[in-house]
Subunit: 325 residues, 2 copies
C-alpha cells in the first residue's frame, strides 16, 4: 500500500489538487478555477467532486494506494479555525469555513488541515525538502508578495490566533515604499518580485540610465526574470538591483535571526532562480546586521521544493504533520 496525501493549493485564479507520496512526488493532479462567484457552498461541492475524481484516477493506476488526508494552502488560511479569513484576492466574503466545508463531503475519512501557502511551504521543506534534519528554521517565499513560515522545535509557529509568520510585513525602511497592505516601508515592498521592479525603476531614474538593457521596458512589461537576464549580460542597473535587494533582504533576515536564532533560512520563489546574484548580497547584508554571537553561523539556503508543484506539495505535507500528533 502506497501512502498518499492530497495537497490543495487555493490561489486567486486556480485551485490545484494533487496526490503526493511520502517522498513528495506528485503522482497526479487536476486544476479547477477558483470561483469568482463567491458561492462558497458550491465551491465546496465542486472541489469535493474533483478530489473524488482524483482519488478514482489514482485507483486506475497500477499501485494500490491509501489516502491519509487532505492538506490545504490558501491566502489568509487559519490553521486553528480551518478558515480563510478576509482574503483580498478571493471572492468569498469575510470568514469561510474551509475545513468544516470539506468535512461535510468527507465525513469521517481523512485528516483535513489548512494553513497559508508560506506556512505550507515551510512544512513541505521539513517533510520532503532540505530541512528534514532541522528543528529550527524559517522559510521566506519571494513572489508577488513575501510570505514566511517559522519552525521552532520541529513545529510550525501559528501564534495565538493562527496568523504568525507574516515577516513580509516587518518594517525595513520607516516611511518608505507603500506596501500592498497600505503600510509604509515593509520588506515585501522591497524584496518581492514587484519590489525588485520598483528598485529597478528607482535606479534607472537615479542614474538617468538610458543605456541600461532595462530602459526600453515599461513598468507593466518589466519582470524580475528580465532583470536576471540583464544581470547575466552585465547590465549595471540589473546588477545593482540584485545588490540592493540583497541589502534589504539581509536586513530583514537579520531581524528574524535576532528573534528566533534559526539554524537556516530557506528562500523560495522566482527571484531565487538568480542564484548568487541574490544569495550572496543577502548573506553579506544579513551578517553585517547580526550580533557577534550569530555572525557566520546562520545558513541561507535555496528551497529544495520544485517551483512548479511546491504549493500542492507543501499543502500535502500538512497531512503527515497532522498524523504525527
Amino acid at each position: 500500500m502506497k501512502k498518499i496525501a492530497i495537497g490543495i493549493d487555493i490561489g486567486g485564479t486556480n485551485t490545484v489538487i494533487g496526490a503526493v507520496d511520502q517522498e513528495g512526488n506528485v503522482m497526479v493532479n487536476r486544476t479547477i478555477d477558483t470561483p469568482k462567484h463567491g458561492d462558497f457552498d458550491k465551491y465546496m461541492a465542486d472541489l469535493s467532486s474533483e478530489i473524488k475524481e482524483l482519488i478514482n484516477s489514482l485507483k486506475l493506476m497500477n499501485e494500490e494506494t491509501e489516502i491519509l488526508g487532505i492538506g490545504l494552502g490558501a491566502p489568509n488560511g487559519n490553521y486553528y479555525n480551518g478558515t480563510i479569513e478576509y482574503a483580498p484576492n478571493l471572492s468569498f466574503k469575510g470568514v469561510v469555513h474551509l475545513v468544516d466545508g470539506l468535512k461535510k463531503h468527507f465525513p469521517d475519512s481523512y485528516a483535513i488541515a489548512l494553513t497559508n501557502d508560506a506556512n505550507a511551504a515551510a512544512i513541505g521543506e521539513m517533510v520532503y525538502g532540505g530541512a528534514k534534519e532541522m528543528k529550527n528554521f524559517v522559510m521566506y517565499t519571494l513572489g508577488t508578495g513575501v510570505g514566511s513560515g517559522i519552525i521552532v522545535n520541529g513545529d510550525l509557529v501559528y501564534g495565538h490566533d493562527g496568523f504568525a509568520g507574516e515577516c513580509g510585513h516587518t518594517t525595513l525602511i520607516p516611511g518608505g515604499r507603500v506596501c500592498g497592505c497600505g503600510s509604509l516601508g515593509h520588506l515585501e515592498a522591497y524584496c518581492s518580485a514587484p519590489g525588485m521592479k520598483r528598485t529597478a525603476f528607482e535606479l534607472i531614474a537615479q542614474y538617468n540610465a538610458e543605456d541600461s538593457l532595462l530602459a526600453d521596458k515599461s513598468y507593466k512589461e518589466l519582470t524580475s526574470k528580465m532583470i536576471y537576464e540583464a544581470a547575466e549580460k552585465g547590465d549595471k542597473i540589473a546588477l545593482e538591483v540584485f545588490q540592493k535587494t540583497g541589502d534589504y533582504l539581509g536586513q530583514g533576515l537579520a531581524d528574524t535571526v535576532h528573534h528566533l536564532a534559526p539554524e537556516a533560512i530557506f528562500l523560495f520563489g522566482g527571484p531565487t532562480a538568480a542564484g548568487d546574484y541574490i544569495f550572496k548580497p543577502t548573506y553579506e547584508s544579513m551578517n553585517r546586521h547580526l550580533l557577534p554571537i550569530f555572525k557566520d553561523k546562520i545558513k541561507i539556503l535555496p528551497s529544495k521544493l520544485k517551483l512548479g508543484d511546491a504549493a500542492i506539495v507543501g499543502a500535502s505535507a500538512l497531512v503527515w504533520k497532522e498524523l504525527e500528533k
Copy 2:
C-alpha cells in the same frame, strides 16, 4: 513541606541569590560580588558556599522546606550548554561552564538550569506573573539595554543555538544610531533607558530648548527617571521623548507581532514606571504598523514581576519549568 526554587541573578557587579516559593515570593536572599578576578573555579566555590548558607538560613526559619533546584540568569547565558559565552561585562574569558561548575558542588541533588536574564523574566511572567494563562507571548525588558524572551506554545524559544530572543538588536532605523553592539540603528539604541536620554539630547538640540527642565542636566547626569519627572511637570521635550520612544518601540513590537502573532507583549523595566506616557504611544505606533488581521488584537501589558527582585524570581522560575519536563 514548602517547595522552594533557588534563583540566582549574575550581573556585572553583584550576584544575587534568593529562595523563592511557588507563588514567586522571595523568602530570603543574599548578595555577593560578581568577581573581577576572572577565576571561574573560585567563583563557583564561593557561589556554592553562599547557596549552602542560604539553604541553612532557610532551615532556621519556621517552615519546613524542600529545595527543588537552582535557576540562573546571566548575560549571554546559554540554556542548551549551561554556559556563559563571551559576556562583555563579566571578567570570565570566553565560554565558562556554569551549570557543570555548580553540579560539581551539588552532585546529585537539584535540577540546575541557566538562561539569559530576559528569557528568565519571560518564564517568570509565565510561572508567577501576568502570563499564567498565556501560551504565546513576548517579554521585552527595557533597561541599560533591551532584552527579550519569546514564549511559543508555553515554551521558551531558545532557537538552534540557545540564543534566540535578541529583539533589542533588530534594525529600526537603517544607518541610525550606533548601538552598544557596534551595529547601526538597532532598537536598543532608541528604546533602552540610555536610548531615551539620546532622544532627549537630540530633541533639546533640535529645538534649541534652553527652557526645558532637562536643559540644565549634563549627558552623564540625565536619567530616564528625570525625563519622567519632567514629563509629569508638562515639559514639552520630556513629553516628546516619550512620544518618540513609543513610536520607535511600537515599530519594533509590530515586527515581533508579524513574526510570532503573540497574545500579548509584556514590558518590564525602569522606563515602564512612566505608565501611559510610554504605553500609550507604543500601542498606537504598534497598531499603525500592523496588518489589518492583527490591528487592535495584541495587548501591551506591564510586567507583574516586581522590579527589585524580578531577576532572581525569573531565574527561579526556570526550575519549575525544568521539573515539568
